[in-house]
C-alpha cells in the first residue's frame, strides 16, 4: 500500500453534495424561506438584535446578534443586515473548511464544529450577513431560529416578516402552458398559419413577412397590412407578450435553455441589440432587391411552423435552421431574440407605443443581496448594478419579452406591471 492510499483531503472528509435537480423542481421549485425586512416600518429600536443575541450567546449583546440594524443618520433610513438564505449562497463555496451547508429546508447554516472563524464567508456574502462576534470571534449567521425566527416575533413595528417562499409560481405555470399550447397549435395542428392565415374575413399575417412582401412586390395590400394588426395591437396593449408567451421558437429556446444551463458566453463585439434592427432592414432591403421574401426562407419561427408539422416532417432542408439557431442558446439565453430576431425588432418598434411597463421598485427590494430578477431575466435587461446601488433600474420595454419571470420570482413584490403613465415604483408611495 502506498502513502498516497492513506492521504485524505477535504473532499473525503466533507464531500460537497452533488447538485441534483429533479424534473418536478422545474415547475415547483423548493420553497425558499427567509426574512423580509421592511425599511419603511423599522424605527431602529434594535429589539431584533437583543433577542437574537440572547439566543446566540445567552445574554443581551447586540453586537453578537446575527441580525444588524444600521441607521443612516443623514438619510433617516434604517437598514438590516441578515442572511437571505440565497438559492445559490456564495458563502458556501467560499468556506475553506466547508463548514457552511444549505439544508433540505433551504436554511443555510454554519457548522460551528468546522468553522475556523476565518471570516471569508462574510467577505463572499454580498450582504455581509455572517457577522463576526467581536468578543468570542465566532461567526454568527441567521439560521431562522430553525424555522421560527424570534426577531420577527419581537419586532414591535412588524418590520420583519418571515416567509416560507412562494409555493407555486403561477405565472411560470401559466406561461409554460401557454407556450406549449401555442407550439402545439402553430407547429403541429395548424401548420404554417403563423406566416399567413385566413378564414373568411379574418386573416392573420407575420408583420416581418408582410413588410418583406410589400418590399418585394412593391404594392401595399390593405388586407395584408390589416392582417398584421392583431399582433401589433397586442404589442401596444401588453408589450412583446407574443415573444414570451406565444412564439413557438421562443418555446424551443426555453427548452434548450433548460438542458444547457451553463452558458459559454457571447462575444462582446456581437452584443448589440441594434443588430436585429439591422437584420430587419436587411430583410426588407433584400426582399426589395431580389423580389422575394428573403428572410422568410431562413426565419426560425416560419421554418418551425412550416417544416416541423406531422405532414412536413423530414421533407424539407429548412429543418436544419431551427437546431442551428437554437444552438446559439449555449452561448447566452435567448441569444436569437436579443440580437437577431427581426420579428422581435418589429414588435420592439411597436412597443414604443406600449401602454404598460414593468417596474422594479428598489425601495422595496433587497438590492444587492437578492437580484433574482436580474438573474432570471432571459433577455438580460435588468441592471443588477443599479439595484445594488439602491436605484430602480429602467427596463427597456422595447427589449422586454413580457415573460414576467421577474414578477414571478421577486420575493418582495417589488416587480410590478404598471401603466406607462404611472410614475412611482413599488414602495415609493402613491402611484
Amino acid at each position: 500500500m502506498t502513502e498516497q492510499d492513506f492521504s485524505l483531503n477535504l473532499e473525503d472528509l466533507r464531500p460537497r453534495p452533488a447538485e441534483k435537480k429533479h424534473l418536478s423542481e422545474y415547475f415547483m421549485p423548493p420553497r425558499h424561506s427567509f426574512i423580509i425586512f421592511h425599511p419603511d416600518k423599522c424605527t431602529g429600536c434594535g429589539a431584533c438584535e437583543m433577542i437574537c443575541s440572547t439566543r446566540n450567546t445567552g445574554k443581551v449583546a447586540p453586537v453578537s446578534a446575527s441580525v444588524k440594524v444600521i441607521r443612516d443618520e443623514k438619510e433617516g433610513k434604517n437598514f438590516s443586515i441578515l442572511c437571505q438564505h440565497c438559492r445559490k449562497p456564495l458563502c458556501l463555496p467560499a468556506c475553506p473548511t466547508r463548514a457552511i451547508e444549505k439544508g433540505d429546508d433551504g436554511i443555510v447554516r454554519i457548522d460551528k464544529l468546522f468553522c475556523t472563524q476565518c471570516g471569508i464567508c462574510a467577505m463572499a456574502c454580498p450582504a455581509a450577513a455572517p457577522i463576526k462576534d467581536p468578543c468570542s470571534q465566532e461567526i454568527h449567521k441567521c439560521d431562522l431560529c430553525e424555522g421560527d425566527p424570534l426577531c420577527v416575533k419581537h419586532c414591535p413595528e412588524n418590520a420583519l416578516t418571515f416567509t416560507r417562499g412562494k409555493a407555486l409560481r403561477w405565472i411560470k405555470g401559466l406561461r409554460w402552458t401557454s407556450q406549449f399550447i401555442s407550439f402545439l397549435l402553430l407547429v403541429v395542428v395548424f401548420i404554417g398559419t403563423f406566416c399567413y392565415f385566413r378564414t373568411g374575413s379574418i386573416s392573420f399575417a407575420c408583420p416581418t413577412g408582410t413588410l418583406q412582401n410589400i418590399a418585394s412586390s412593391g404594392t401595399i395590400v390593405l388586407v395584408g397590412v390589416s392582417s398584421t394588426l392583431a399582433l401589433l395591437i397586442l404589442t401596444v396593449l401588453a408589450g412583446r407578450l407574443f415573444c414570451g408567451w406565444v412564439c413557438p421558437f421562443g418555446f424551443v429556446l426555453d427548452l434548450v435553455d433548460k438542458v444547457t444551463p451553463k452558458k459559454i458566453g457571447w462575444p462582446s463585439f456581437l452584443k448589440s441589440r441594434m443588430t436585429k434592427y439591422g437584420v430587419l432592414t436587411g430583410a426588407v432591403g433584400g426582399s426589395y432587391a431580389l423580389g422575394f421574401q428573403v428572410f422568410c426562407t431562413v426565419c426560425p419561427i416560419g421554418t418551425l411552423c412550416r417544416s416541423y408539422g406531422v405532414q412536413s416532417f423530414f421533407k424539407s432542408a429548412e429543418l436544419a435552421i431551427v437546431p442551428a439557431l437554437a444552438s446559439l442558446e449555449i452561448a447566452q439565453r435567448r441569444s436569437w431574440c436579443r440580437y437577431f430576431c427581426p420579428v422581435g425588432a418589429v414588435l420592439g418598434l411597436t412597443a414604443l407605443l406600449r401602454m404598460i411597463k414593468i417596474i422594479i421598485g428598489a425601495k422595496k427590494c433587497k438590492k444587492f443581496s437578492c437580484i433574482q430578477c436580474a438573474e432570471v431575466c432571459p433577455v438580460g435587461i435588468i441592471d443588477a448594478d443599479k439595484l445594488r446601488e439602491g436605484l430602480s433600474p429602467k427596463i427597456p420595454m422595447t427589449e422586454c419579452i413580457m415573460c414576467m419571470r421577474c414578477i414571478d420570482r421577486c420575493p418582495y413584490d417589488a416587480a410590478k406591471i404598471r401603466f406607462r403613465w404611472q410614475k412611482a415604483a413599488p414602495g415609493e408611495g402613491r402611484t
Binding site: 419603511d40 424605527t43 431602529g44 429600536c45 434594535g46 429589539a47 437583543m50 433577542i51 443575541s53 440572547t54 450567546t57 445567552g58 445574554k59 443581551v60 449583546a61 447586540p62 453586537v63 453578537s64 441607521r71 443618520e73 443623514k74 438619510e75 433617516g76 433610513k77 434604517n78 467581536p134 468578543c135 416575533k153 419581537h154 414591535p156
Partner: protein
C-alpha cells in the same frame, strides 16, 4: 438580595484626567441595594469625590428587556443652576455603556490636553483629541470614525464648548441631546472632548423571560399615545408646540426609536434648503433627527419656518437650541439667524444667558408633558431604573411596580425593591 446580579457588570470606572490614569473598582452590592442605580447611585458616588467630578451611570434596567431601556445619566454639580443636575442621554448610549463593561464612570480632575475617553471591555483609555478642537460635530465624528478604535455610541462636545460658551450642549452622535444644564461646559473645562462607548459585550438580564417586554407592549398598545407617535406627538403637548409642529412639514419624515422603545418619540426629517452664505444657488438636501422637544419648540417660536436649518446650525456647533432662541429675535431672515449663531460662537468674551426663569428638572431638557409631583416622581423612577423618562411620562399604565417586575418577580424581592426605590427617589 442578589436580584441585581445579572443587571450590572458590577464595575465602576474611575478616570483621573489630571494624572491620565483610569482604574476599575467594584460596585458594591450594598450600594446597589440602597440606591438601586441611575441618578440616585450617581449622586451617592458623586458625594465621594470633589465638586468638579462628573459621573455617568446606568440604571439596573438599562439595556434590558424592559421597554425603552436606553438611558444613561450624567450627574454633576451644574455651574449654570448651582445645583446637582442629572442629564438623561437616550438613543443607545445607556446600553452601549453597559455593554462596554462598566456601569458607572467617574471623571475627575482636568486633563493636561484635550482628550477623549474610550470605554470597552471594562477598560477605559484616554486618547488625545486636540485635532478635534473647534471642529463641527459631524466633522469631528467623521474624524473619530477614521482614526479611533471601534465604538457604537459617542457623546461629544462641539465648538461651542471649546470656546467656553456656558449654554453649550453635549451631543449624542450628531443628534444633540437634552443637556441644558452646562454639562458640555464642564466637560470642556476638564479638557474632555467626549466619551466613546465600544459596547461589544453583553449582560444576561432576565433572559429567561424575554417575553415580559412584549407583554407590557401589548398593554400599552391600547393607549392612545401608542398610536400617536413621533416627535410631533410629544411636541404638541408643549406650550406653543402645535404651532411649532407646523414647520415640520418636511419632504420626508420617519419616526425613529431609541433602544428597545416600542413607541418612538423622535422623527427624522429631510429638508431642502439653500445656504444664503454660499454663492451657489443650488439647494442641498439635509437630514435631521429631532429629539429635543423643548429646544425645538423654543427655537421654532423665534425663527418660524427657518427652524430646521437654524436647528442644524445649533447642533453642528453643539449649542442648546433653547438658549440660542433667547438670543434671537423674531421676524429675521435665515441669513440673520445663521449670522447670529456664528456670532455667538465667535464672540469674545462668550455670551451668557439668564437661567433664572428656567426649570432645572433633570437637566432641563425633558418635555413637561405632565405636571406637579406626578411628573417629578415618574421622571425620578425612570432616572433611577434606567428607562427613558419621556416614555414613562407618556404611558400611565407603566408604574414603578411594573418596571421592578423586570428585575425580580418574587414578592419578597419586590417589596424590598419598592422600599429601596422610594428611598432612592427621596434622596434625589
Amino acid at each position: 438580595m442578589n436580584s441585581f446580579q445579572p443587571f450590572y457588570n458590577r464595575k465602576i470606572g474611575v478616570v483621573d484626567l489630571s494624572a491620565s490614569k483610569a482604574e476599575v473598582i467594584p460596585l458594591v452590592q450594598k450600594q446597589v441595594s440602597r440606591h438601586i442605580g441611575g441618578a440616585a447611585m450617581n449622586s451617592a458616588i458623586l458625594e465621594g469625590y470633589q465638586d468638579d467630578a462628573l459621573v455617568f451611570g446606568t440604571g439596573p434596567l438599562t439595556g434590558s428587556f424592559a421597554p425603552a431601556s436606553s438611558l444613561m445619566i450624567a450627574s454633576f454639580a451644574s455651574l449654570v443652576f448651582n445645583s446637582i443636575c442629572h442629564v438623561p442621554f437616550m438613543l443607545r448610549t445607556g446600553p452601549d455603556m453597559k455593554f462596554s463593561g462598566i456601569d458607572y464612570l467617574v471623571v475627575k480632575g482636568t486633563a493636561p490636553e484635550r482628550s477623549i475617553l474610550h470605554v470597552n471591555h471594562g477598560k477605559i483609555r484616554t486618547l488625545p483629541a486636540g485635532n478635534l478642537q473647534h471642529m463641527h460635530i459631524p466633522e469631528a465624528i467623521r474624524e473619530l470614525k477614521k482614526a479611533s478604535p471601534l465604538f457604537q455610541s459617542v457623546i461629544i462636545t462641539g465648538p461651542a464648548a471649546d470656546r467656553g460658551i456656558p449654554f453649550a450642549s453635549v451631543s449624542i452622535g450628531t443628534n444633540g441631546s437634552l443637556d441644558k444644564a452646562g454639562l458640555a461646559s464642564l466637560m470642556a473645562a476638564k479638557n474632555l472632548k467626549g466619551i466613546m462607548l465600544g459596547g461589544t459585550e453583553g449582560l444576561p438580564f432576565n433572559r429567561d423571560n424575554p417575553q415580559q417586554g412584549k407583554e407590557l407592549e401589548k398593554i400599552i398598545s391600547t393607549d392612545k399615545n401608542f398610536k400617536h407617535r413621533g416627535f410631533y406627538s410629544v411636541l404638541k403637548k408643549l406650550e406653543g408646540g402645535e404651532e411649532a409642529g407646523k414647520f415640520l412639514k418636511a419632504s420626508g419624515e420617519k419616526d425613529m426609536a431609541c433602544y428597545h422603545c416600542p413607541s418612538p418619540c423622535m422623527t427624522h426629517v429631510r429638508y431642502s434648503w439653500h445656504d444664503p452664505r454660499k454663492k451657489e444657488m443650488q439647494n442641498s438636501k439635509e437630514g435631521l433627527l429631532l429629539l429635543d422637544h423643548t429646544g425645538y419648540a423654543a427655537l421654532a417660536e423665534k425663527v418660524g419656518k427657518n427652524i430646521l436649518p437654524v436647528l442644524r446650525a445649533c447642533l453642528h456647533y453643539g449649542l442648546d437650541p433653547a438658549a440660542v432662541a433667547e438670543k434671537l429675535s423674531e421676524g429675521g431672515t435665515m441669513l440673520e439667524y445663521l449670522n447670529a449663531i456664528d456670532k455667538i460662537i465667535s464672540d469674545n468674551p462668550p455670551q451668557t444667558t439668564d437661567v433664572s426663569q428656567r426649570q432645572c428638572l433633570f437637566g432641563g431638557g425633558l418635555p413637561p408633558i405632565l405636571t406637579g409631583d406626578v411628573l417629578e416622581k415618574k421622571v425620578a423612577i425612570a432616572m433611577i431604573l434606567g428607562v427613558c423618562p419621556i416614555f414613562l411620562l407618556r404611558f400611565a399604565q407603566i408604574t414603578d411596580a411594573t418596571l421592578l417586575s423586570f428585575i425580580s418577580t418574587s414578592e419578597e424581592d419586590l417589596t424590598t425593591l419598592q422600599e429601596g426605590l422610594s428611598s432612592a427617589i427621596s434622596s434625589l
